[in-house]
Amino acid sequence: MLPIKFVIEIIVFGFLLIALVVYLVHQNYFSVKYSLIWLLVILSFLTSALIPNFIDGLRSFLGFEILSNMILSIMIGLLILLTLTLTIIVSGQKESIRLLNQELSLLKAKVNK
């Protein structure tokens, strides 16, 4: 069982992050599509903190001696996943920008002829 102080900290931090993501979506800094992955990560943390003995069960299931090691490892794993997702998005955008640049430049050349 996680110490109650730690559970409260996770809940407060989780809700603050949710508020930040919702604010960023609301202000158009984030698109809904890309905010979902963040919300899912935060929600999964909140749920695991709220279900009694879940974290401890997971720790012994995964074979970690110390809880903090497991949390750090999961965090690193999630960050790698997020970075991979962002790399996919950036690569797609680079392709779109190239295509737009080419088509616009061709069109400009045609108009200025």
């Binding site: 640049n101 080419q102 430049s105 061709l106 050349a109």
Partner: protein, 237 residues
């Protein structure tokens, strides 16, 4: 019927040599069309092209050699050209070799022709530095291994394409390492690729698009991308 021929000239900061290159082409054969793809140059390349009424497309931002050349292929496809010739704006390529380059296309003996510095008869002119040549050999061997087709100059930018390849490249063109990757794709799809001997000059101006040629990282990148290309699926045009 006289085939419509277009010179695709990618240019990035080529204010020193671009006009000389174009005059050379025009004086050799005034019927050949030219399109200069100004790849977001920061020097006077754009002004020189506009002042001299040279047909050009000014990319709104720098795309690199691959993106610039593909823009030329898109232009060639839109304007129904029969043959497109990739010709550098820095004076490296030899105008006297162009007829030799397009001959296999005119005779329908090839779909794509590459001018090679390293074919036996052409061991003159600029051959590139020793370390670059080692890199070129390594790339050529890798393409040979992966595609079962031998190539001698996979990084040559002196190339000519027929209509089929023009349309293919206008939709599929590698951007990161365009010369070796495009050869790999064409071989993979069993297009008829031919090499002809060509003499190259040293650059007259501008900067090479390959900055870290000799670095192991660059080589690893090229070899990895060739392997990825060999695994990918492409649709033939």
């Amino acid at each position: 019927m006289i085939p419509k021929i277009l010179f695709i000239i990618p240019a990035y900061n080529e204010e020193v040599s671009i006009l000389k290159t174009i005059r050379e082409i025009h004086s050799f054969n005034p019927n050949w069309d030219i399109i200069v793809i100004n790849d977001g140059s920061t020097d006077r390349t754009k002004e020189i092209l506009d002042e001299n009424n040279i047909p050009s497309i000014h990319l709104i931002m720098n795309l690199g050699i691959g993106g610039a050349v593909q823009t030329g292929y898109k232009y060639a496809a839109e304007n129904d050209y029969d043959i497109a010739i990739q010709f550098d704006g820095d004076g490296q390529h030899n105008i006297n070799d162009v007829e030799k380059l397009i001959e296999p296309l005119l005779n329908d003996m090839a779909d794509f022709v590459v001018g090679s510095r390293f074919l036996s008869e052409s061991r003159e002119g600029f051959q590139s530095s020793f370390l670059r040549r080692i890199g070129i050999v390594l790339i050529a061997k890798t393409i040979g291994l992966l595609s079962q087709h031998s190539v001698s100059d996979p990084t040559s930018g002196f190339r000519a394409a027929n209509k089929r390849i023009i349309h293919f490249f206008s939709s599929v063109y590698p951007i990161e390492f365009p010369e070796p990757e495009s050869l790999m794709i064409l071989h993979k799809l069993n297009y008829r690729v031919k090499e002809v001997p060509s003499i190259m000059n040293e650059r007259q101006g501008g900067k090479s698009s390959i900055h870290s040629w000799i670095s192991a990282y660059y080589m690893l990148n090229v070899l990895f991308s060739l392997w990825i290309v060999s695994l990918r699926k492409y649709d033939k045009y």
